[in-house]
């Protein structure tokens, strides 16, 4: 096999040809502005947008009018958090979230804290990455206005118990937001059953185009209000002004429709491939550790630490395979992943982690090729690793007197 293998589907996914086909007419002959109310071009675009809203709503058990289009999940997260904090400031100023959330949540929280608008509780997780709903309950104060907890983690794939958290939020009358960017289209999502009031999602993680996403905003029981973060023509029920990205929206809608149709069969197939990859690798190599939850995880996610082999050097050896490393060794700080840190994975092992993200277009043949390449490169790099040699000699690496800078 000489072509590149793409196994980084948490980062992004290719546009499904069926999605592209649905989008194409809206670039050229059907180019109208969905806000043009007085001619056929506008009506045509508006109809396409309405259809997309229905397709999305169906996938997550919402109403079409509860979908607000944004540029992607980062914007949705910003709008949800900043919009709620601003609108409900008379009610309270406390947010509960989790240490392993995406940066779009954590950095938005930090920005709100810096401005003195809120205090934020960052809940810890267990060694598998799961937040304890009891911790959520205990963190609630009379000032809490929002709980924001992701559906599935982008690095380790751990799925959070949203049903239980949603129940607690409802019981206490607190708004519940979830960043479901990695979950929508891959895991069942039901905003009613999960008690979700706001939910962020993105098209390019589910074989749709980049630059389009959405925020679910509950319209009844309770009706959620948001202070707009973008002023202008009052699009999207006044919550997000700006001419609608009709082609993108059509793509997002089609991607959601396909995801809904394929969800069951696809997640089964991807899970089977992931387990094939895991078993091949772990049966051939010793000292390989799984990060995240063994069962409660995204079907396509496999995050492994290959002890004694630094992640970036392994990526370099796998140059015809697109996967991602858990250590951000390219940054000047040499900080390993904050998610792995929060799990309690030591920095030594965090530097050796690789995230494999399987998706719709991966094949068994690719899985076998990736497994074989990983085994070969890890073996080669371990032969070159002083740590592997020392461990085999019985040196206690944890208590060795390292010459630190």
């Amino acid at each position: 096999m000489t072509r590149l293998v793409y196994m980084d589907n948490h980062a992004t996914t290719p546009v499904d040809p069926r999605v592209l086909e649905a989008m194409l007419p809206y670039f050229t002959e059907k180019f109208g502005n969905a806000a043009s109310r007085n001619h056929a071009f506008g009506w045509e675009a508006e109809a396409a947008v309405d259809r997309a809203r229905e397709q999305i709503a169906k996938l997550i058990n919402a109403k079409a009018k509860e979908i607000i289009f944004t540029s992607g999940a980062t914007e949705s997260d910003n709008l949800a958090l900043k919009g709620v904090v601003e609108f409900y400031k008379e009610k309270g100023n406390h947010i509960i979230t989790v240490a392993t959330e995406h940066k779009a949540i954590l950095d938005t929280c930090k920005a709100l804290e810096r401005k003195g608008l809120v205090t934020v509780t960052y809940l810890p997780i267990d060694e598998c990455g799961v937040v304890n709903p009891d911790d959520v309950r205990k963190a609630i104060t009379d000032k809490t206005i929002l709980i924001s907890i992701m559906q599935a983690n982008n690095e380790i794939g751990t799925i959070q118990p949203l049903h239980e958290i949603g129940k607690i939020a409802k019981e206490k009358g607190i708004l519940f937001h979830s960043d479901a960017t990695q979950g929508v289209g891959k895991l069942p999502v039901d905003v009613e059953a999960m008690g979700i009031d706001l939910m962020s999602f993105s098209a390019h993680k589910i074989y749709g185009p980049k630059g389009i996403g959405g925020l679910y905003v509950r319209a009844r029981n309770p009706r959620v209000r948001l202070a707009a973060q973008m002023d202008g023509g009052g699009h999207e029920r006044g919550m997000r002004s700006g001419t609608l990205n009709v082609t993108g929206i059509v793509g997002l809608g089609k991607a959601c429709e396909l995801a809904g149709e394929l969800l069951e069969s696809e997640s089964e197939r991807i899970l089977r491939m992931r387990e094939r990859l895991r078993q091949k690798i772990t049966s051939a190599l010793d000292e390989v550790y799984l990060n995240g939850h063994p069962m409660q995880r995204l079907p396509g996610n496999l995050n492994l630490s290959f002890a004694f082999v630094e992640g970036e050097s392994l990526l370099m050896g796998l140059k015809d395979i697109a996967v991602s490393s858990g250590s951000a060794c390219t940054s000047a700080t040499l900080e390993p992943s904050y998610v792995l840190r929060a799990l309690g994975v030591g920095d030594d092992l965090a530097h050796t982690s690789i995230r494999f993200g399987l998706g719709r277009f991966n094949t068994d043949e690719e899985v076998d090729y990736v497994a074989e390449r990983v085994i070969r490169e890890v073996t080669r790099l371990r032969e070159m690793s002083p740590l592997y040699e020392m461990a085999k000699e019985g040196v206690d690496l944890k208590n060795f007197n390292w010459a630190r800078d």
Binding site: E310, M316, H351, P386, L387, A403
Partner: protein, 136 residues
Amino acid sequence: MAYSDKVLDHYENPRNVGSFSKDEPNVGTGIVGAPECGDVMKLQLKISASGIIEDARFKTFGCGSAIASSSYVTELIKGKTIDEAYAIKNTQIVEELKLPPVKIHCSVLAEDAIKAAVSDWKTRKAGGPEAAKKVG
């Protein structure tokens, strides 16, 4: 990030990978870095009684630039006197391998490894085999 051709070459065809027996009296061993920092280099030098570096071996846990830096050092250092080796600066490694700013620390570590290996050899020479047990 794009790696320079020289880094790629050293990564794919590392020179002088391996270990000498630490018990050999003419071997100096330097182990620098720490696993939690993501870089550990072990450099071993075989040094003649007159202080000439006759051979070198390395093993490195770290990114491709760290592997390349240590591999390059083993080539660079052979035939040098210990004083010449001690005088090698990390900037030489940076220039040869065209390391970007975020990878300068790899070259610093390689320079440290040389100094640690030479010091170990000197200690062992002065203090006999007892001093050697400190390493590894």
